[in-house]
Symmetry: C2
Subunit: 140 residues, 2 copies
DNA sequence: TTAAATGCAAAAAATTTGCAGACGT
DNA sequence: ACGTCTGCAAATTTTTTGCATTTAA
């Protein structure tokens, strides 16, 4: 998906240059903090205001276009809303990688929720550790 | 466990009144934000400084006594370090409930990490939804 | 006794707000 | 043309820091 204009309009938002670019960099890099987004979009739009980034992240989250990924010990990152998935988070380099959710584990979570009379809405699975790249660098 | 003095000393920290009380309220309530902790401990120690709470949370996390629980759309909460577990988080009332990790799902995460050459250190499973109590209130 | 911890106040960082002008539809 | 959005600057909120004093061991 790359048609941000349609995505925004369907969400009841105007397709501004700033919003298109926010979505663009988030899709390109996968997971970005507020600062990350600001710095990256400012490259192509130097007059961008940080306040605009904040306002849009909040707005786009409300509209279900962006999703917050809170991370232990760091600032939250944001990603495009997409099919449920898990995150492998490298505690060395900070990289966040998406992994498909495992249908097996999802089944267990659904079942557990049912037992607990908990109306499950959203799962969040983050695995923290050291990615392959950082392991190799450490070894040398 | 209630012997915070031993816990702190074994972690190389002095057992101050402030620290004992921080651990006390965190254990009592389960999951608390920085502000929560400050307000609660200040009740028994009115001269408490918010800076002291911040400093101690950071220190106790470094020593592995406290653990951060980042939550979508809210400030992080903190809990006592304990056996790995998951969280059921109510998006209505904010309650956080601990649930034992499922050995079945853990096995899948370990296996996935191995496949990905990811050195898994810590799992974080948060299920967001509506707790039974809030469902009942909504119905009425 | 002495290194570590506290509390305060000030600084820094992060986020939010209000509003005038610009822009998308 | 209209209502929304942006950018700015100011206000708030959150978190960190430095330092003089106090405290646990």
């Amino acid at each position: 998906m790359t048609d941000y204009t349609t995505l925004l309009k369907e969400s009841g938002l105007k397709a501004t240059f700033q919003r298109m670019n926010i979505l663009g960099v988030v899709e390109k890099y996968g997971h970005m903090s507020v600062e990350d987004i600001y710095e990256e979009v400012a490259k192509v739009h130097p007059s961008l205001s940080l306040a605009t980034v904040y306002k849009n992240i909040i707005l786009m989250m409300e509209k279900g276009v962006l999703v917050e990924v809170p991370i232990v010990g760091k600032k939250s990152k944001y990603e495009l809303a997409k099919a449920d998935h898990m995150h492998l988070i490298c505690t060395e380099c900070g990289a966040v990688e998406d992994k498909m959710c495992l249908s097996e584990t999802d089944a267990f979570f659904s079942e557990l929720s049912k037992e607990e009379h908990f109306k499950l809405d959203r799962r969040q699975v983050n695995l923290y550790g050291v990615c392959q790249k950082c392991q190799i660098q450490e070894a040398s």
